[in-house]
Amino acid sequence: MNDQFSTPMRGIGSTDEFRTKVGLAEMLRGGVIMDVTTAEQARIAQQAGAVAVMALERVPSDIRRDGGVARMSPVDKVREIQQTVDIPVMAKARIGHFIEGEILQALEVDFIDESEVLTPADHAHHIEKNRFKVPFVCGATNLGEALRRIGEGAAMLRTKGEAGTGDVTEAVRHLRLIRGQIRSLTQADPEEWMSIAKELAAPYHLVCQVAKEGRLPVPNFAAGGIATPADAALMMRLGAEAIFVGSGIFKAEDPLLTAKAIVHATSHFDDALQLAEASSGLGAAMAGIDATKLPEDERLQVRGW
């Protein structure tokens, strides 16, 4: 048998409910999840081949520009989007805002993103996600944060990157860091696992599992600053299992073409000729901001505990 398949299937040994949550995440692999604020944008995303849409009040670059409190998408918008498309509909809730989570679950959204892009409702705690029937995705910048979110019940992770900048550098940093931390964990002796758990502030049983299996127990997607087909392919090559695009599509000159091209590039991330084809004739990408030059209080990735 091929060595890469020596680890058990993800979800085996968990509850049935958790397995159906991770199962949906598995189905989204190799796809592109697109931020949308209206039913019309959702229709364009589906037409372009999105695997899911993410409903939110404003795209990250507008939140960044206009400021104010960013909250869950209005309920009527979520319903309108659900009526418009057949693909899964995700929606964002504020960190720690379990009532927004309960409302989105009552609306039967397919996935909830407890997201740092919205203004946090709780500056010390995240939502206890195990009690929900609907699966959650959360952002993570390092392995400790990733395992804390899985401990709370997240069925999918994503890099945080720096949303709304169109600059992929922070997503690259988060993905490389998590992969590096997993690699070094697999080299550690079992006697070291508890100290590593303490250092990472991560649940011990999840540290042990990652040490043995050499990968995260749930799919890990890339998000935050992805604006071009090449950005999407870069994240896939670095080991992301699918792509979230926020402002990158509906802030581009031609959203439909850009969306199609990013779908194409995510699927054929390993073929440079296809990537060249996907990248041609697109018009201007969104205007970007250098994410490394942002003042500390404008960095969204630091939200999360």
Binding site: G23, M27, R29, G30, V51, D86, I87, V134, D271
Partner: protein
Amino acid sequence: MTAICAGVLALQGSVEPHLRALSRAGVDPIELRRPDQLDQITHLVLPGGESTTLHHLLELHSLSSEIPQRVEAGDLALLGTCAGAILMGRECQESPPRWNLIDVEFQRNGYGRQVHSFIEPIEWIAGPGPGASEGIFIRAPRIGQLSPPVEVIATLGTEAVAVRQERCVACTFHPELTEDDRLHRWFLSL
């Protein structure tokens, strides 16, 4: 008889779990992304994923015409799970376009949205059966009216959840997410 060479359509979806299942079933599967790779294989798995996304990506490289042509010519056996099954079904009102390889209508999200996804035992009544397996249903499609030559191979209660027509097999649940590979083993024998 030609040697069995299997592939998994690797454009989007749960590709890796199918590669694992085929590998446990004793073959060394390829990841298929381009039409020219079809020459290398006798058996192709269409994984779960999003059927509209798969359709869009299949169209980009004319795989949506090449695959059904090879099946009709008798050169290729197909196993579709969930979204993959939908593509193989009878043409209907719903998008995406279907391939008419199995004379059954698959209704997308037939059990509802993700909060209605579930795991229940299914019963093999033909094909790899008899026996039961774990059926993982995720935003699963539902099988409509059936008539010969479509053969039911698995049921959930009284309802068909896996069907076969000649060398095409369609399954609305996800055997690839379990460690039970009897469907894959049987498929390779077709």
